[in-house]
């Protein structure tokens, strides 16, 4: 251990030496690689490493440059992320990948903005693959930030499109974690339901502290008492698994619409209690029509994860397309090429909006089922599609006033 510390200390000094090598394009992946969320971070890292390999095997980007993913552990901490960001820049990375935690994303957007202003010769792009707070493509938008996941509002837009057709649903109960994302989901649900289904009553709108509730039975009792037909929740992790388990225990059989029902470990934790109960809204699941089976098989074999982040593939392919188009891997050039870029994937055409740098892609509402072709996490469960929302239908108005480099 001591030698490692010394080595680490020494490397602080020599790190700049690595910076200049431009034959490989370094992409820093700043997400939790230790601590409670390490599994999620590792899953993402494996996706990007796999996709980077694919690109390298096919000849690299911008005229044969190889891409390399550097994993940096931020412990889902905003301050630590900024430290890792500085390290990433030092190691020559000009592209930053991050997704877990809106607080981290907010810190990174801000850090990238300041960095690019203060160091115009070392500009950096932030490629956000999962932080879905709408603010990043609205009031807090940045020219240097590109988001490849649909934000909370867009997903709600899609969900309410589906809800508009479900005439049997009259009473909706919203429950979420008491932080920005939970609040954003609740706010979006309220306004969009009022618009698209004014007859639907919101019978409950509840926030609970993040990760503190052990038994959701009291909430389920309230839901039942309120005559709920549909539960909408942005909960993830144990907060979602526990909610679903409590509902199953109470034999409370209404659909629970989630954002993260298929998140890593969730199907395992929820188990059969979630079957035909939990729905999710995502850009992908393994039983989606058109999903490339060979790729999924190969991915599972090489990484021991299921393919979950389809957008990792989209992101890397679009990065390559943009770099090829610009003929350069310079951040400023790539940003200009990426803005407004259209790209074809197996699931349809996707577009990077120029006005707020948000990717538009088809979304799917799916239900966890035990009667599907491809299952997840070694369980007998998998998702089956209920509803497809076309990319263009997910477009939401934006308040973004982007400052573009002159």
């Amino acid at each position: 251990m001591w030698t490692k510390i010394i080595a680490a200390a020494a490397s602080v000094g020599v790190m700049t030496a690595f910076a200049a090598h431009a034959q490989t394009v370094k992409i820093a992946y700043i997400d939790p690689l230790s601590g409670p969320f390490a599994n999620v971070g590792d899953q993402g890292l494996k996706h990007f490493e796999y996709m980077a390999n694919k690109i390298n095997e096919a000849g690299g980007i911008a005229g044969g440059k190889k891409v390399e993913i550097i994993g940096l552990d931020n412990k889902v901490d905003a301050k630590e992320s900024l430290i890792q960001f500085q390290k990433a820049v030092d190691q020559g990375a000009r592209f930053i990948l991050q997704g877990n935690g809106s607080s981290v994303a907010a810190a990174l957007v801000d850090a990238v903005n300041k960095h690019n202003r203060r160091n115009p010769d070392q500009r950096v792009l932030f490629l956000n693959y999962a932080a879905v707070d709408p603010v990043f493509t609205n009031d807090g938008c940045s020219y240097w930030h590109f988001r490849f996941d649909a934000d909370a509002d867009m997903k709600m837009e899609a969900l309410t499109n589906w809800l508009a057709e479900q005439k049997a649903i009259k009473n909706v109960y919203i429950i979420g974690q008491d932080y920005s994302f939970g609040k954003a989901v609740a706010a979006a649900a309220r306004s969009m339901i009022a618009k698209k289904r004014p007859d639907v009553k919101i019978v409950g709108d509840e926030l609970h502290p993040l990760g503190k509730v052990k038994d959701f039975s009291p909430y389920v009792a309230k839901m039942r008492a309120a005559g709920t037909d549909l539960v909408i929740t942005g909960n993830w992790g144990p907060d979602m698994s526990l909610l679903v388990k409590a509902a199953a225990d109470a034999n409370f059989n209404v659909p629970i619409l989630t954002y993260y029902g298929g998140g890593l470990g969730a199907p395992t934790a929820m188990g059969s209690s979630a079957v035909d109960r939990v729905k999710q809204i995502t850009e992908f699941h393994e039983n989606v029509e058109g999903a490339p089976a060979a790729l999924m098989d190969d991915f599972e074999k090489k990484t021991s994860y299921d393919l979950y982040y389809w957008r990792a593939k989209t992101l890397m392919e679009m990065l390559k397309a943009a770099a090829d188009k610009a003929g350069s891997t310079d951040a400023t050039a790539v940003a200009a090429a990426l803005s407004g870029l259209e790209h074809k994937t197996e699931l349809g055409t996707v577009t990077m909006r120029t006005d707020n740098h948000q990717l538009l892609q088809p979304l799917f509402i799916s239900t966890l089922s035990d009667k599907v072709a491809r299952t997840v996490e070694g369980t007998t469960l998998g998702f089956k599609t209920d509803y497809r929302i076309e990319a263009d239908a997910t477009r939401t108005p934006t308040t973004c006033k982007m400052e573009r480099p002159s």
């Binding site: 251990m1 490692k4 602080v12 700049t16 690689l33 552990d73 905003a78 301050k79 810190a107 850090a111």
Partner: protein, 422 residues
């Protein structure tokens, strides 16, 4: 229960007769190190890490004011760090918005004032108890403030926190706070100033009395002082310095989130102070350096860094409660006594045994981590796979060899490097 334990290393009695030079020398050395560091680690990473270390040095020193000096074990020190930080951050935003003629350089003072004030208000009920009840109250307050941090969005900015820009307001000393290197001088100045102030505090009558309260709180009332009052005042000052560290963090990171109030921050500062050593003033400095390096650099090499921190902590609790500083002290004592030559072989063999043990543990842990994610461990041309027995056998052999050697050495009664200070 109320009396804090007496066997944890206390602050070394400060020699009253020490010569002026001996008192000034460590500070000159410290200043020299602070001046030299930027030339040794001139990279962006170097500055970033050193800045993080600087903030944590002040934070850990303020924690040691509580635990090492006042005998108060707190599980909620992050509260004052965070409140000080947010106060400074709001000030920074105000400087920008209202064009106040306040230099950003002085923001740590705002943090200090906020920490002091918060410590004065909340400390009043907290300090009515000592010992374990005190520890439990700080735990409760820490949880409550952490929860409140997420609830009051206008004050703490919700999950995404509050952002600021440090390149606003008038410049002081012509220092541009834009680049990381500029921030380094800001951090270095405050580390030096805060450390000096905290050291001076230990020398004041209140500082001496806080040692007395830590040592034997039951006797203090019978020499005319109210121990509760002493604790309260020390608590306030320690909160103030934690707030100062928070103010430094606000300037360095330009963003603060309510995460800062979390149990993780409070736990980390305890680890830093303890691993470095509560018994010497400079102990927490060592701890802060080590923990920040492990957290931000070691994590590049292994996902098991937390396990190593945990093992290091447990090892010190069990075998060297004086922390790293006690080893330094042991060495310094031997040099003063002039018998370090006789002891050197024992130290060397102890260090060797420890290295063997540590190597074995690291090997086993790294193999175990790879057992889940796959992949092999590559070391000096040797490839070990978690699936093969080879690596495990080597690991276990190293651990048993190291443990056996250590046992043998301690049996022989060597005053090795793990000995506690008298």
């Amino acid at each position: 229960m109320t009396a804090i334990d007496r066997a944890l290393p206390a602050m070394r009695p400060v020699g009253v007769r020490s010569s002026p030079l001996a008192a000034v020398a460590p500070w000159l050395l410290g200043a020299a190190i602070l001046l030299a560091l930027p030339f040794v680690f001139p990279s962006r990473t170097g500055f970033t890490i050193m800045n993080a270390i600087g903030i944590n040095v002040v934070f850990a020193l303020s924690y040691n004011m509580l635990l090492g000096q006042g005998g108060m074990l707190s599980f909620g020190h992050a509260v004052w760090f965070g409140l000080g930080g947010f106060a400074a951050m709001h000030m920074m935003v105000a400087i920008d918005k209202l064009a106040l003629p306040v230099p950003v350089f002085l923001l740590p003072l705002v943090g200090f004032a906020a920490g002091l004030l918060a410590g004065a208000v909340l400390g009043w009920p907290i300090c009515r108890r000592a010992g374990t009840p005190f520890a439990m109250i700080t735990l409760g307050i820490g949880e409550l403030i952490a929860a409140a941090g997420l609830m009051f969005v206008t004050v703490f900015g919700g999950e995404e926190g509050i952002k600021g820009d440090r390149v606003v307001g008038p410049m002081l000393f012509g220092l541009d706070l834009g680049p990381q290197g500029g921030v380094y001088w800001f951090i270095a100045f405050w580390v030096f100033a805060a450390a000096l102030a905290m050291w001076a505090f230990t020398r004041t009558p209140l500082g001496r009395l806080s040692l007395a309260v830590r040592d034997n709180p039951d006797r203090v009332p019978f020499i005319g002082y109210d121990p509760q009052r002493v604790r309260y005042l020390v608590f306030m000052v320690a909160s103030g310095f934690a707030g100062l560290a928070g103010g430094m963090a606000a300037v360095n990171y330009e963003i603060l989130t309510p995460q800062i109030f979390g149990a993780l921050t409070s736990g980390n500062v305890l680890l830093m102070a303890f691993i470095g050593g509560l018994g010497a003033f400079y102990g927490p400095i060592l701890g802060a350096v080590l923990i920040v390096l492990m957290q931000s650099m070691l994590s590049d090499y292994t996902e098991g860094w937390q396990l190593y921190v945990g093992l290091l902590f447990m090892g010190l609790v069990m075998f060297a409660p004086g922390g790293l500083a006690s080893m330094v002290e042991g060495g310094a004592r031997a040099v003063r006594r002039g018998d370090w030559r006789e002891r050197a072989p024992a130290w060397a063999s102890g260090a060797l045994a420890f290295a063997v043990l540590a190597a074995g543990i690291v090997l086993l842990v790294e193999l175990a981590f790879r057992a889940h994610g796959g992949g092999a461990l590559r070391l000096a041309g040797l490839t070990l796979r978690p699936g093969d027995a080879m690596g495990w056998i080597i690991g276990i052999a190293l651990v048993s060899l190291g443990a056996g050697l250590l046992r043998l050495l301690t049996r022989r009664g060597h005053d090795g490097d793990t000995a506690r200070p008298a």
